[in-house]
Symmetry: C2
Subunit: 246 residues, 2 copies
DNA sequence: CGAACTATTGAACTAGGTCAAACCCAGTGG
DNA sequence: CCACTGGGTTTGACCTAGTTCAATAGTTCG
């Protein structure tokens, strides 16, 4: 049933006791940094947050909805989707455990968010997030950092969509996903999303995604199982992705 | 199928120091603009800002540079550019007077910024911007708003690049530009950028941009002058752009 | 087993890319 | 005043990467 990704046991109960929070704490830099590694920017809001589960393919919020909540993924995969009247679809991003979404600023969501797999979320009231950011400059800074990362990713995606070939798109996608998935040792990447989602993320058709994957397999770069891909030749993959990271 | 290889990359020359800068310049340009555009989030930093002029096609900063400054455009047009090793180019955005750029968060710029036309900029030290945001929650909120707007635009662009046809891309582009240019009464849009820039922004080739513009002209939707386009039938244009705005 | 999906593969087609030639100015210099 | 040069732009003729259409093959589930 839970064949998907790492299932951090998270049910609402065992929440680490919220540390007493002093907004202007003069904690030593090192302590601050250490804590930063393990905590997320909205730690202070845990008391007012709630946990929810969403079934596969259910909508979390839809395009145009007022943005009342911000979310953090505990387990599962989420896609954010933009839709045109005639049904053409663009998947803006795939979100993994630990990622935030829904808090991208404006008053209403410009994208819908949907569960790719069964998903467990932590949900924070936007009003509280705003208030926290207003009173805690460190939180505000970290939120800015998150926004910047999203913007950077969006721009990388623009390059991909505007200028890369099908092979480069697929290679970039796999390469990127491998880097983001924590437990992708031995190069195995679990693909929670179907070919259609991948196609709509990369600006291709389902058929081209299939053919291109097949092509990469023929060349010995990857192996394909239905729900996962294994990277056999990471170097080639990165080269094909035109990825300056490697 | 290597996309658009512009003739050459004329950027690489040793870039001379910025032409002119004066810490407190009360240029007439600025006075004029101040009148029009009420206040901006960095108003408080004006004392530590400086004004600079950049010639057409000069680089303002390049991909990978440490992000030391944030900029606001007083006059002219700027493009932000992402480059691949083999010369393929993606123009992420065109920036107009009043727009901010360079402050998108991370420690170094993921895009280069270049002057499309001769440009006058106001430049703010990032350190000061950060400090101001830390101490003034209202500023921080407005900066977050700017970042959100950029993210939203980037996503719209992803839809365009991933799923729209050439005609839709051109129509969207013109439509969007018309909405952003203040003085586009009588539907006349001044195009500061050349066809190559437009092509690299829309994920097309120069030739396709030309042909598509010609096609829109044939259909009576627009008129084309060398440096500008006049919208003759805004309704059709918006319809072609698949623009929910109309 | 069969229905309903999703993925894969093949064959034909097309939107947009590539290559190449003409055009159109704005300078420049005779 | 005009020819000449050099940049961007426009148009035409052809080509191909990726789409579309259609048929096949696994998988899941009742």
């Amino acid at each position: 049933m839970f064949a998907s990704l790492q299932t951090i046991d998270t049910r609402s109960g065992p929440r680490p006791a919220p540390i007493a929070w002093s907004p202007r704490s003069a904690a030593p830099v090192e302590a601050r940094l250490a804590r930063r590694a393990e905590t997320h920017p909205l730690e202070a809001l845990e008391p007012s947050a709630s946990t929810l589960c969403v079934e596969k393919d259910r909508e979390i919020y839809s395009q145009g909805d007022p943005a009342e909540f911000s979310y953090r993924i505990l387990s599962g995969t989420v896609r954010t989707v933009k839709l045109m009247e005639d049904g053409r679809r663009q998947v803006a991003e795939f979100l993994l455990p630990g990622d935030f979404f829904g808090g991208d600023g404006l008053d209403d969501h410009d994208l819908a968010a949907e569960a790719v797999s069964a998903v467990v979320l932590r949900r924070y009231p936007r009003r509280a997030v705003e208030a926290l950011a207003d009173r805690d400059a460190d939180v505000a800074r970290r939120l800015r950092g998150l926004a910047s990362a999203k913007l950077r990713a969006a721009r990388e995606q623009m390059m991909l969509l505007g200028r890369k070939t099908a092979v480069e798109r697929i290679a970039s996608f796999l390469s990127d996903l491998a880097a983001r998935l924590p437990n992708s040792r031995d190069g195995r990447i679990a693909l929670a999303m179907g070919r259609a989602d991948i196609a709509d993320h990369l600006g291709l058709t389902i058929e081209t995604v299939c053919r291109t994957l097949a092509c990469l397999r023929r060349d010995g770069v990857i192996e394909i199982a239905r729900e996962a891909v294994s990277i056999r030749d990471a170097r080639s993959l990165h080269a094909l992705a035109c990825d300056p990271r490697h």
